[in-house]
Protein backbone atom coordinates (compact mmCIF):
# COMPACT_ATOMS: atom_id res chain seq x y z
CA UNK A 1 0.00 0.00 0.00
CA UNK A 2 1.05 3.51 -0.76
CA UNK A 3 0.57 4.86 2.72
CA UNK A 4 -0.37 3.48 6.13
CA UNK A 5 -4.14 3.47 6.37
CA UNK A 6 -3.87 3.42 10.12
CA UNK A 7 -1.92 5.83 12.32
CA UNK A 8 -2.79 4.37 15.69
CA UNK A 9 -1.76 6.93 18.28
CA UNK A 10 -3.41 8.09 21.48
CA UNK A 11 -6.33 5.68 21.31
CA UNK A 12 -6.36 2.69 23.69
CA UNK A 13 -6.32 -0.79 22.20
CA UNK A 14 -9.66 -2.23 23.22
CA UNK A 15 -9.50 -5.40 21.16
CA UNK A 16 -9.02 -7.51 24.29
CA UNK A 17 -11.79 -5.90 26.29
CA UNK A 18 -14.73 -7.94 27.44
CA UNK A 19 -18.01 -7.14 25.73
CA UNK A 20 -20.71 -6.91 28.40
CA UNK A 21 -24.06 -7.70 26.83
CA UNK A 22 -26.80 -5.18 27.37
CA UNK A 23 -28.71 -5.91 30.53
CA UNK A 24 -32.17 -4.81 29.39
CA UNK A 25 -33.16 -4.01 32.96
CA UNK A 26 -36.23 -2.17 31.75
CA UNK A 27 -37.22 -5.10 29.59
CA UNK A 28 -36.98 -7.60 32.42
CA UNK A 29 -38.85 -5.28 34.72
CA UNK A 30 -41.59 -5.03 32.11
CA UNK A 31 -41.73 -8.81 31.77
CA UNK A 32 -41.97 -9.17 35.52
CA UNK A 33 -44.65 -6.52 35.75
CA UNK A 34 -46.71 -8.11 33.00
CA UNK A 35 -46.31 -11.57 34.50
CA UNK A 36 -47.46 -10.15 37.84
CA UNK A 37 -50.43 -8.47 36.21
CA UNK A 38 -51.44 -11.61 34.36
CA UNK A 39 -51.04 -13.69 37.52
CA UNK A 40 -53.16 -11.19 39.43
CA UNK A 41 -55.75 -11.29 36.71
CA UNK A 42 -55.75 -15.07 36.68
CA UNK A 43 -56.09 -15.14 40.44
CA UNK A 44 -58.93 -12.61 40.39
CA UNK A 45 -60.73 -14.69 37.80
CA UNK A 46 -60.04 -17.86 39.78
CA UNK A 47 -61.24 -16.60 43.15
CA UNK A 48 -63.83 -14.21 41.72
CA UNK A 49 -67.49 -15.10 41.48
CA UNK A 50 -66.84 -17.42 38.54
CA UNK A 51 -67.39 -21.17 38.70
CA UNK A 52 -64.70 -22.58 36.43
CA UNK A 53 -66.18 -26.04 36.61
CA UNK A 54 -69.16 -24.69 34.70
CA UNK A 55 -66.87 -23.35 32.01
CA UNK A 56 -65.21 -26.72 31.62
CA UNK A 57 -68.49 -28.55 31.73
CA UNK A 58 -70.26 -26.44 29.12
CA UNK A 59 -67.31 -25.96 26.79
CA UNK A 60 -68.32 -29.05 24.86
CA UNK A 61 -72.00 -29.24 25.76
CA UNK A 62 -74.18 -30.39 22.84
CA UNK A 63 -76.01 -27.06 22.64
CA UNK A 64 -72.70 -25.18 22.45
CA UNK A 65 -71.28 -27.52 19.82
CA UNK A 66 -74.43 -27.21 17.76
CA UNK A 67 -74.28 -23.43 18.09
CA UNK A 68 -70.66 -23.54 16.98
CA UNK A 69 -71.60 -25.48 13.87
CA UNK A 70 -74.40 -23.03 13.11
CA UNK A 71 -72.05 -20.09 13.59
CA UNK A 72 -69.53 -21.57 11.20
CA UNK A 73 -71.89 -22.50 8.40
CA UNK A 74 -73.85 -19.27 8.70
CA UNK A 75 -70.59 -17.31 8.40
CA UNK A 76 -69.75 -19.22 5.26
CA UNK A 77 -73.22 -18.95 3.74
CA UNK A 78 -73.64 -15.25 4.52
CA UNK A 79 -70.16 -14.54 3.19
CA UNK A 80 -70.96 -16.41 -0.02
CA UNK A 81 -74.14 -14.39 -0.46
CA UNK A 82 -72.24 -11.20 0.38
CA UNK A 83 -69.53 -11.89 -2.17
CA UNK A 84 -72.07 -12.67 -4.88
CA UNK A 85 -73.97 -9.46 -4.20
CA UNK A 86 -70.78 -7.49 -3.77
CA UNK A 87 -69.36 -8.57 -7.10
CA UNK A 88 -72.67 -7.86 -8.84
CA UNK A 89 -72.91 -4.45 -7.24
CA UNK A 90 -69.32 -3.55 -8.06
CA UNK A 91 -69.87 -4.47 -11.71
CA UNK A 92 -73.08 -2.39 -11.76
CA UNK A 93 -71.32 0.51 -10.09
CA UNK A 94 -68.65 0.53 -12.81
CA UNK A 95 -71.05 0.07 -15.71
CA UNK A 96 -71.57 3.00 -18.09
CA UNK A 97 -75.32 2.77 -17.43
CA UNK A 98 -76.32 5.50 -14.96
CA UNK A 99 -79.38 3.60 -13.78
CA UNK A 100 -77.36 0.58 -12.72
CA UNK A 101 -74.82 2.91 -11.13
CA UNK A 102 -77.56 4.60 -9.16
CA UNK A 103 -79.01 1.33 -7.96
CA UNK A 104 -75.59 0.15 -6.83
CA UNK A 105 -74.87 3.39 -4.98
CA UNK A 106 -78.27 3.39 -3.31
CA UNK A 107 -77.81 -0.17 -2.13
CA UNK A 108 -74.39 0.54 -0.68
CA UNK A 109 -75.58 3.70 1.03
CA UNK A 110 -78.66 2.12 2.57
CA UNK A 111 -77.06 -1.03 3.89
CA UNK A 112 -73.82 0.51 5.04
CA UNK A 113 -75.82 3.26 6.71
CA UNK A 114 -78.04 1.18 9.00
CA UNK A 115 -76.93 -1.01 11.88
CA UNK A 116 -77.01 -4.69 11.09
CA UNK A 117 -79.14 -5.38 14.15
CA UNK A 118 -81.93 -3.25 12.65
CA UNK A 119 -81.62 -5.00 9.33
CA UNK A 120 -81.93 -8.39 11.02
CA UNK A 121 -85.05 -7.32 12.92
CA UNK A 122 -86.62 -5.82 9.80
CA UNK A 123 -86.07 -8.99 7.77
CA UNK A 124 -87.43 -11.14 10.55
CA UNK A 125 -90.55 -8.97 10.82
CA UNK A 126 -91.06 -8.62 7.10
CA UNK A 127 -94.56 -10.07 7.47
CA UNK A 128 -95.68 -6.79 8.98
CA UNK A 129 -95.13 -5.25 5.56
CA UNK A 130 -95.65 -8.21 3.25
CA UNK A 131 -98.06 -10.67 4.88
CA UNK A 132 -97.80 -12.93 1.83
CA UNK A 133 -95.08 -13.56 -0.73
CA UNK A 134 -95.95 -14.46 -4.29
CA UNK A 135 -99.04 -14.01 -6.40
CA UNK A 136 -102.54 -15.34 -5.92
CA UNK A 137 -102.62 -19.09 -5.50
CA UNK A 138 -98.88 -19.37 -5.58
CA UNK A 139 -98.34 -17.35 -2.45
CA UNK A 140 -96.82 -18.39 0.81
CA UNK A 141 -97.23 -16.88 4.22
CA UNK A 142 -94.16 -14.71 4.78
CA UNK A 143 -93.68 -16.00 8.31
CA UNK A 144 -93.41 -19.56 7.03
CA UNK A 145 -90.66 -18.53 4.64
CA UNK A 146 -88.83 -16.05 6.83
CA UNK A 147 -87.39 -18.40 9.42
CA UNK A 148 -84.71 -17.11 11.80
CA UNK A 149 -82.20 -18.90 9.62
CA UNK A 150 -83.30 -17.21 6.41
CA UNK A 151 -83.62 -13.84 8.09
CA UNK A 152 -80.11 -14.17 9.49
CA UNK A 153 -78.76 -15.23 6.10
CA UNK A 154 -80.45 -12.34 4.30
CA UNK A 155 -79.62 -9.78 6.95
CA UNK A 156 -75.97 -10.73 7.27
CA UNK A 157 -75.42 -11.51 3.59
CA UNK A 158 -77.05 -8.40 2.16
CA UNK A 159 -75.27 -6.17 4.66
CA UNK A 160 -71.99 -7.88 3.81
CA UNK A 161 -72.66 -7.39 0.11
CA UNK A 162 -72.67 -3.63 0.57
CA UNK A 163 -69.23 -3.73 2.17
CA UNK A 164 -67.83 -6.33 -0.21
CA UNK A 165 -68.88 -4.28 -3.22
CA UNK A 166 -66.49 -1.53 -2.13
CA UNK A 167 -63.68 -4.02 -1.65
CA UNK A 168 -64.28 -5.53 -5.08
CA UNK A 169 -64.54 -2.11 -6.67
CA UNK A 170 -61.18 -1.10 -5.21
CA UNK A 171 -59.72 -4.33 -6.56
CA UNK A 172 -61.09 -3.69 -10.04
CA UNK A 173 -59.80 -0.12 -10.01
CA UNK A 174 -56.35 -1.43 -9.15
CA UNK A 175 -56.12 -3.22 -12.49
CA UNK A 176 -54.33 -1.15 -15.13
CA UNK A 177 -56.69 0.34 -17.74
CA UNK A 178 -54.32 -0.98 -20.40
CA UNK A 179 -55.67 -4.42 -19.55
CA UNK A 180 -59.24 -3.39 -20.45
CA UNK A 181 -58.00 -1.91 -23.71
CA UNK A 182 -55.97 -4.97 -24.60
CA UNK A 183 -59.03 -7.12 -23.91
CA UNK A 184 -61.22 -4.88 -26.08
CA UNK A 185 -58.66 -4.92 -28.86
CA UNK A 186 -59.00 -8.70 -29.17
CA UNK A 187 -62.75 -8.26 -29.46
CA UNK A 188 -63.92 -8.92 -25.92
CA UNK A 189 -67.09 -7.30 -24.60
CA UNK A 190 -67.04 -5.53 -21.24
CA UNK A 191 -68.38 -8.49 -19.29
CA UNK A 192 -66.04 -11.02 -20.88
CA UNK A 193 -63.11 -8.69 -20.19
CA UNK A 194 -64.17 -8.38 -16.55
CA UNK A 195 -64.59 -12.11 -16.13
CA UNK A 196 -61.46 -13.31 -17.90
CA UNK A 197 -58.97 -10.49 -17.53
CA UNK A 198 -59.85 -8.03 -14.78
CA UNK A 199 -61.21 -10.22 -11.98
CA UNK A 200 -58.37 -12.73 -11.94
CA UNK A 201 -55.94 -9.84 -11.53
CA UNK A 202 -58.09 -7.99 -9.00
CA UNK A 203 -58.13 -11.06 -6.75
CA UNK A 204 -54.70 -10.22 -5.39
CA UNK A 205 -55.98 -6.94 -4.01
CA UNK A 206 -59.38 -8.32 -3.00
CA UNK A 207 -58.36 -11.40 -1.03
CA UNK A 208 -56.68 -9.79 2.01
CA UNK A 209 -59.55 -7.45 3.00
CA UNK A 210 -62.04 -10.21 2.24
CA UNK A 211 -60.19 -12.47 4.67
CA UNK A 212 -60.56 -9.79 7.31
CA UNK A 213 -64.25 -9.47 6.56
CA UNK A 214 -64.69 -13.20 6.92
CA UNK A 215 -63.24 -13.07 10.41
CA UNK A 216 -65.54 -10.12 11.08
CA UNK A 217 -68.50 -12.15 9.83
CA UNK A 218 -67.81 -14.97 12.29
CA UNK A 219 -68.24 -12.46 15.07
CA UNK A 220 -71.13 -10.67 13.39
CA UNK A 221 -73.23 -13.82 13.44
CA UNK A 222 -73.46 -13.35 17.21
CA UNK A 223 -75.91 -10.53 16.50
CA UNK A 224 -78.32 -12.97 14.90
CA UNK A 225 -79.10 -14.18 18.40
CA UNK A 226 -81.64 -11.32 18.61
CA UNK A 227 -83.76 -13.08 16.00
CA UNK A 228 -83.37 -16.50 17.63
CA UNK A 229 -80.91 -17.91 15.18
CA UNK A 230 -79.32 -20.70 17.18
CA UNK A 231 -75.71 -19.59 16.86
CA UNK A 232 -73.25 -20.13 19.66
CA UNK A 233 -73.99 -16.99 21.68
CA UNK A 234 -77.73 -17.60 21.47
CA UNK A 235 -77.36 -21.13 22.75
CA UNK A 236 -75.06 -19.93 25.51
CA UNK A 237 -77.73 -17.44 26.50
CA UNK A 238 -80.41 -20.12 26.57
CA UNK A 239 -78.25 -22.04 28.98
CA UNK A 240 -77.71 -19.11 31.28
CA UNK A 241 -81.39 -18.26 31.26
CA UNK A 242 -81.89 -21.71 32.75
CA UNK A 243 -78.98 -21.82 35.17
CA UNK A 244 -78.06 -18.15 35.69
CA UNK A 245 -74.31 -18.72 35.05
CA UNK A 246 -74.03 -15.67 32.82
CA UNK A 247 -70.29 -14.95 32.92
CA UNK A 248 -69.32 -18.61 32.72
CA UNK A 249 -71.31 -19.15 29.55
CA UNK A 250 -70.00 -15.92 28.02
CA UNK A 251 -66.48 -17.15 28.67
CA UNK A 252 -67.32 -20.44 26.95
CA UNK A 253 -68.52 -18.53 23.88
CA UNK A 254 -65.46 -16.26 23.97
CA UNK A 255 -63.13 -19.26 24.01
CA UNK A 256 -64.73 -20.73 20.91
CA UNK A 257 -64.65 -17.42 19.05
CA UNK A 258 -60.96 -17.08 19.89
CA UNK A 259 -60.36 -20.59 18.61
CA UNK A 260 -62.06 -19.88 15.29
CA UNK A 261 -60.30 -16.56 14.80
CA UNK A 262 -56.95 -18.07 15.80
CA UNK A 263 -57.38 -20.66 13.08
CA UNK A 264 -58.59 -18.22 10.46
CA UNK A 265 -55.93 -15.54 10.97
CA UNK A 266 -52.93 -17.65 9.92
CA UNK A 267 -55.06 -19.22 7.19
CA UNK A 268 -55.69 -15.74 5.85
CA UNK A 269 -51.97 -14.94 5.96
CA UNK A 270 -51.19 -18.06 3.94
CA UNK A 271 -53.83 -17.15 1.39
CA UNK A 272 -52.51 -13.59 1.12
CA UNK A 273 -49.01 -14.86 0.58
CA UNK A 274 -50.21 -17.22 -2.12
CA UNK A 275 -52.06 -14.54 -4.00
CA UNK A 276 -49.29 -11.96 -3.86
CA UNK A 277 -46.78 -14.51 -5.13
CA UNK A 278 -45.42 -14.12 -8.65
CA UNK A 279 -47.10 -10.77 -8.97
CA UNK A 280 -43.82 -9.00 -9.61
CA UNK A 281 -44.42 -8.48 -13.28
CA UNK A 282 -47.79 -6.83 -13.12
CA UNK A 283 -46.73 -3.90 -11.00
Amino acid sequence: MTQPVQARSALPDISGYRLVPERHWGRWAAVALIALLLAGLARAFAVGDIEWTYVGQFLTAPAIMQGLVNTIWMSIAAMALGITLGVGTAVMRMSPNPVLQGVAMGYTWLFRGTPIILQLLLWFNLALVFPKLGWGDYSLRTVDVMTPMLAALLGLGINQGAYTSEVVRAGMLSVDTGQYEAAKSIGMTRLTALRRIVFPQAMRVIIPPLGNEFIGMVKLTSLASVIQFAEILHNAQNIYYANSRVIELLIVAAIWYLVIVSILTPAQMLLERRFSRGAGGSR
Partner: protein, 253 residues
Protein backbone atom coordinates in the same frame (compact mmCIF):
# COMPACT_ATOMS: atom_id res chain seq x y z
CA UNK B 1 -114.06 -25.62 18.06
CA UNK B 2 -110.50 -25.52 16.69
CA UNK B 3 -110.00 -23.57 13.45
CA UNK B 4 -109.62 -25.77 10.37
CA UNK B 5 -106.06 -24.65 9.68
CA UNK B 6 -105.08 -26.11 13.06
CA UNK B 7 -106.94 -29.38 12.72
CA UNK B 8 -105.63 -29.90 9.19
CA UNK B 9 -102.09 -29.14 10.35
CA UNK B 10 -102.63 -31.27 13.44
CA UNK B 11 -100.72 -28.82 15.59
CA UNK B 12 -101.06 -25.53 17.39
CA UNK B 13 -98.05 -23.27 16.86
CA UNK B 14 -97.07 -21.66 20.14
CA UNK B 15 -94.47 -18.94 20.64
CA UNK B 16 -92.16 -19.41 23.58
CA UNK B 17 -89.05 -17.68 24.89
CA UNK B 18 -87.14 -20.22 26.92
CA UNK B 19 -85.67 -17.70 29.33
CA UNK B 20 -88.09 -17.99 32.23
CA UNK B 21 -87.47 -21.03 34.38
CA UNK B 22 -89.30 -22.97 35.62
CA UNK B 23 -92.10 -22.00 33.24
CA UNK B 24 -89.98 -22.48 30.13
CA UNK B 25 -86.32 -23.22 29.69
CA UNK B 26 -83.93 -25.27 27.66
CA UNK B 27 -82.43 -28.04 29.74
CA UNK B 28 -78.71 -27.13 29.90
CA UNK B 29 -77.77 -30.81 29.65
CA UNK B 30 -79.92 -31.91 26.73
CA UNK B 31 -80.82 -28.57 25.10
CA UNK B 32 -84.49 -29.77 25.13
CA UNK B 33 -87.37 -27.38 25.75
CA UNK B 34 -88.95 -28.08 29.10
CA UNK B 35 -90.81 -26.37 31.93
CA UNK B 36 -94.30 -26.01 33.31
CA UNK B 37 -95.71 -24.16 30.31
CA UNK B 38 -94.29 -26.74 27.96
CA UNK B 39 -95.74 -29.71 29.77
CA UNK B 40 -99.08 -27.98 30.40
CA UNK B 41 -99.26 -26.85 26.77
CA UNK B 42 -98.51 -30.35 25.51
CA UNK B 43 -101.25 -31.76 27.76
CA UNK B 44 -103.68 -29.07 26.61
CA UNK B 45 -103.04 -29.81 22.95
CA UNK B 46 -103.45 -33.53 23.55
CA UNK B 47 -106.82 -32.82 25.20
CA UNK B 48 -107.82 -31.01 21.99
CA UNK B 49 -106.65 -33.87 19.81
CA UNK B 50 -103.65 -32.09 18.28
CA UNK B 51 -99.95 -31.48 19.01
CA UNK B 52 -98.30 -28.39 20.36
CA UNK B 53 -95.60 -27.12 18.02
CA UNK B 54 -93.28 -24.83 19.97
CA UNK B 55 -91.60 -22.01 18.17
CA UNK B 56 -88.82 -20.18 19.90
CA UNK B 57 -88.88 -16.43 19.50
CA UNK B 58 -87.84 -13.43 21.54
CA UNK B 59 -89.83 -11.34 23.93
CA UNK B 60 -90.46 -8.32 21.76
CA UNK B 61 -91.53 -10.54 18.87
CA UNK B 62 -94.20 -12.51 20.71
CA UNK B 63 -97.27 -10.32 20.29
CA UNK B 64 -96.02 -9.24 16.87
CA UNK B 65 -95.92 -12.92 15.94
CA UNK B 66 -99.59 -13.38 16.88
CA UNK B 67 -100.39 -10.34 14.75
CA UNK B 68 -98.44 -11.56 11.73
CA UNK B 69 -99.84 -15.09 12.13
CA UNK B 70 -96.35 -16.54 12.59
CA UNK B 71 -97.85 -18.35 15.60
CA UNK B 72 -101.37 -19.24 16.77
CA UNK B 73 -100.83 -18.57 20.45
CA UNK B 74 -98.25 -17.32 22.89
CA UNK B 75 -97.71 -19.54 25.90
CA UNK B 76 -94.67 -18.15 27.59
CA UNK B 77 -95.49 -16.87 31.05
CA UNK B 78 -97.05 -13.76 29.56
CA UNK B 79 -98.88 -11.41 31.90
CA UNK B 80 -102.49 -10.60 31.03
CA UNK B 81 -102.46 -6.79 31.08
CA UNK B 82 -105.15 -4.35 30.04
CA UNK B 83 -102.76 -2.70 27.56
CA UNK B 84 -102.02 -6.07 25.92
CA UNK B 85 -105.70 -6.92 25.59
CA UNK B 86 -105.79 -4.38 22.75
CA UNK B 87 -103.73 -6.75 20.63
CA UNK B 88 -104.69 -10.17 21.95
CA UNK B 89 -107.13 -12.11 24.09
CA UNK B 90 -105.81 -14.00 27.12
CA UNK B 91 -106.89 -17.37 28.50
CA UNK B 92 -105.64 -17.07 32.10
CA UNK B 93 -104.11 -20.17 33.71
CA UNK B 94 -101.68 -19.01 36.38
CA UNK B 95 -101.32 -16.33 39.03
CA UNK B 96 -98.07 -14.46 39.38
CA UNK B 97 -97.03 -12.23 42.23
CA UNK B 98 -94.41 -9.59 41.64
CA UNK B 99 -91.87 -10.47 44.30
CA UNK B 100 -88.94 -8.45 45.59
CA UNK B 101 -85.87 -10.46 46.53
CA UNK B 102 -82.35 -9.67 47.62
CA UNK B 103 -79.04 -11.35 48.37
CA UNK B 104 -79.29 -13.89 51.19
CA UNK B 105 -76.47 -12.08 52.99
CA UNK B 106 -78.56 -8.92 53.18
CA UNK B 107 -81.88 -10.52 54.07
CA UNK B 108 -81.85 -8.98 57.55
CA UNK B 109 -81.35 -5.52 56.10
CA UNK B 110 -84.56 -5.80 54.09
CA UNK B 111 -87.11 -7.44 56.30
CA UNK B 112 -90.08 -5.84 54.59
CA UNK B 113 -90.57 -4.37 51.11
CA UNK B 114 -90.85 -0.90 52.68
CA UNK B 115 -87.16 -1.15 53.64
CA UNK B 116 -86.38 -0.87 49.91
CA UNK B 117 -87.51 2.74 49.74
CA UNK B 118 -84.60 4.84 48.44
CA UNK B 119 -82.71 1.76 47.28
CA UNK B 120 -81.82 0.52 43.83
CA UNK B 121 -84.07 -2.24 42.50
CA UNK B 122 -83.62 -3.96 39.15
CA UNK B 123 -86.04 -5.75 36.88
CA UNK B 124 -86.20 -6.68 33.21
CA UNK B 125 -87.10 -3.67 31.13
CA UNK B 126 -89.11 -5.85 28.75
CA UNK B 127 -91.77 -6.76 31.34
CA UNK B 128 -94.52 -5.06 33.30
CA UNK B 129 -92.43 -5.31 36.48
CA UNK B 130 -91.05 -1.74 36.21
CA UNK B 131 -94.64 -0.51 36.47
CA UNK B 132 -95.22 -2.64 39.57
CA UNK B 133 -92.11 -1.22 41.21
CA UNK B 134 -93.21 2.30 40.45
CA UNK B 135 -96.73 1.68 41.74
CA UNK B 136 -95.35 0.21 44.96
CA UNK B 137 -92.86 3.04 45.37
CA UNK B 138 -95.52 5.70 44.82
CA UNK B 139 -97.93 4.11 47.27
CA UNK B 140 -95.64 2.87 50.01
CA UNK B 141 -92.62 5.19 49.81
CA UNK B 142 -93.39 8.56 48.26
CA UNK B 143 -96.90 8.85 49.68
CA UNK B 144 -95.52 8.14 53.14
CA UNK B 145 -92.72 10.65 52.89
CA UNK B 146 -89.94 8.17 52.22
CA UNK B 147 -87.52 8.40 49.29
CA UNK B 148 -88.65 6.65 46.11
CA UNK B 149 -87.21 3.36 44.89
CA UNK B 150 -84.69 3.80 42.11
CA UNK B 151 -85.55 1.47 39.25
CA UNK B 152 -82.57 0.04 37.37
CA UNK B 153 -83.44 -1.49 33.99
CA UNK B 154 -81.86 -4.82 33.09
CA UNK B 155 -81.79 -6.87 29.92
CA UNK B 156 -83.69 -9.80 31.46
CA UNK B 157 -84.17 -11.56 34.77
CA UNK B 158 -80.90 -13.46 34.52
CA UNK B 159 -79.16 -10.12 34.01
CA UNK B 160 -81.02 -8.72 37.03
CA UNK B 161 -79.73 -11.56 39.20
CA UNK B 162 -76.18 -11.12 37.87
CA UNK B 163 -76.33 -7.47 38.85
CA UNK B 164 -77.72 -8.35 42.26
CA UNK B 165 -74.80 -10.71 42.86
CA UNK B 166 -72.36 -7.92 41.99
CA UNK B 167 -74.17 -5.56 44.36
CA UNK B 168 -74.93 -3.19 41.49
CA UNK B 169 -78.52 -3.22 42.77
CA UNK B 170 -79.85 -3.76 46.29
CA UNK B 171 -82.78 -5.89 45.30
CA UNK B 172 -84.52 -7.23 42.23
CA UNK B 173 -88.03 -8.10 41.30
CA UNK B 174 -89.36 -11.00 39.32
CA UNK B 175 -92.40 -13.24 39.24
CA UNK B 176 -92.66 -14.95 42.61
CA UNK B 177 -93.51 -18.24 40.95
CA UNK B 178 -89.98 -18.51 39.57
CA UNK B 179 -88.12 -17.88 42.82
CA UNK B 180 -88.27 -21.38 44.37
CA UNK B 181 -86.72 -22.82 41.24
CA UNK B 182 -83.96 -20.17 41.12
CA UNK B 183 -83.23 -20.60 44.80
CA UNK B 184 -82.97 -24.32 44.24
CA UNK B 185 -80.37 -23.72 41.52
CA UNK B 186 -78.29 -21.35 43.58
CA UNK B 187 -78.89 -22.27 47.19
CA UNK B 188 -78.24 -19.67 49.89
CA UNK B 189 -77.87 -16.90 47.33
CA UNK B 190 -81.22 -15.13 47.33
CA UNK B 191 -83.91 -14.35 49.85
CA UNK B 192 -87.43 -13.07 49.18
CA UNK B 193 -88.40 -9.74 50.70
CA UNK B 194 -91.84 -9.93 52.21
CA UNK B 195 -94.85 -11.04 50.24
CA UNK B 196 -95.59 -10.34 46.56
CA UNK B 197 -96.63 -6.71 46.15
CA UNK B 198 -99.05 -7.22 43.32
CA UNK B 199 -100.69 -10.16 41.64
CA UNK B 200 -101.21 -10.47 37.94
CA UNK B 201 -102.71 -13.25 35.89
CA UNK B 202 -100.74 -15.10 33.26
CA UNK B 203 -102.53 -16.18 30.17
CA UNK B 204 -102.27 -17.81 26.78
CA UNK B 205 -102.38 -15.00 24.20
CA UNK B 206 -104.66 -15.66 21.22
CA UNK B 207 -105.59 -13.43 18.27
CA UNK B 208 -108.61 -11.24 19.10
CA UNK B 209 -110.78 -12.55 16.24
CA UNK B 210 -110.17 -16.21 17.00
CA UNK B 211 -113.23 -16.81 19.16
CA UNK B 212 -113.35 -20.53 18.35
CA UNK B 213 -109.75 -21.11 19.34
CA UNK B 214 -110.20 -19.05 22.52
CA UNK B 215 -113.18 -21.13 23.59
CA UNK B 216 -111.50 -24.44 22.76
CA UNK B 217 -108.42 -23.52 24.79
CA UNK B 218 -110.47 -22.36 27.77
CA UNK B 219 -112.51 -25.58 27.71
CA UNK B 220 -109.42 -27.69 27.42
CA UNK B 221 -107.80 -25.88 30.34
CA UNK B 222 -110.89 -26.42 32.47
CA UNK B 223 -110.76 -30.12 31.65
CA UNK B 224 -107.10 -30.28 32.73
CA UNK B 225 -107.98 -28.69 36.06
CA UNK B 226 -110.84 -31.11 36.48
CA UNK B 227 -108.77 -34.23 35.77
CA UNK B 228 -105.94 -33.22 38.10
CA UNK B 229 -103.25 -32.81 35.48
CA UNK B 230 -103.01 -29.11 36.34
CA UNK B 231 -102.39 -29.76 40.03
CA UNK B 232 -99.88 -32.50 39.29
CA UNK B 233 -97.80 -30.26 37.03
CA UNK B 234 -97.94 -27.38 39.50
CA UNK B 235 -96.63 -29.71 42.13
CA UNK B 236 -93.85 -30.99 39.91
CA UNK B 237 -92.56 -27.47 39.16
CA UNK B 238 -93.00 -26.11 42.72
CA UNK B 239 -95.77 -23.73 41.59
CA UNK B 240 -98.68 -24.80 43.78
CA UNK B 241 -99.05 -21.36 45.42
CA UNK B 242 -99.61 -19.87 41.96
CA UNK B 243 -102.66 -21.96 41.15
CA UNK B 244 -105.86 -20.22 40.07
CA UNK B 245 -109.28 -21.48 41.11
CA UNK B 246 -110.96 -21.12 37.73
CA UNK B 247 -110.10 -20.31 34.13
CA UNK B 248 -110.99 -16.78 33.02
CA UNK B 249 -110.81 -14.99 29.70
CA UNK B 250 -109.21 -11.54 29.83
CA UNK B 251 -109.33 -11.56 33.59
CA UNK B 252 -106.32 -9.28 33.88
CA UNK B 253 -106.65 -5.61 34.78
Amino acid sequence: ELPSRITSRGAIIAAVVPNYPPLELRDPKTNELTGFDIELGNALAAKLGVRMQWQETNFEQMLTSVRTGRVDIVMSGMSDLASRQETATFIDYLRSGSQFFTQASRAAEFATPEALCGKRVGASRRTSLPNDIKAFSDAECVAKGRPAIEYVPTEGSADARTQLRQGRIDAAMQGGETLPYIMGLEPNTYAPVGEPVRFTLMGIAVGKEEAGLQQALADGMRALIADGTYARLLEKWQLTPSAIPEVQINGGR
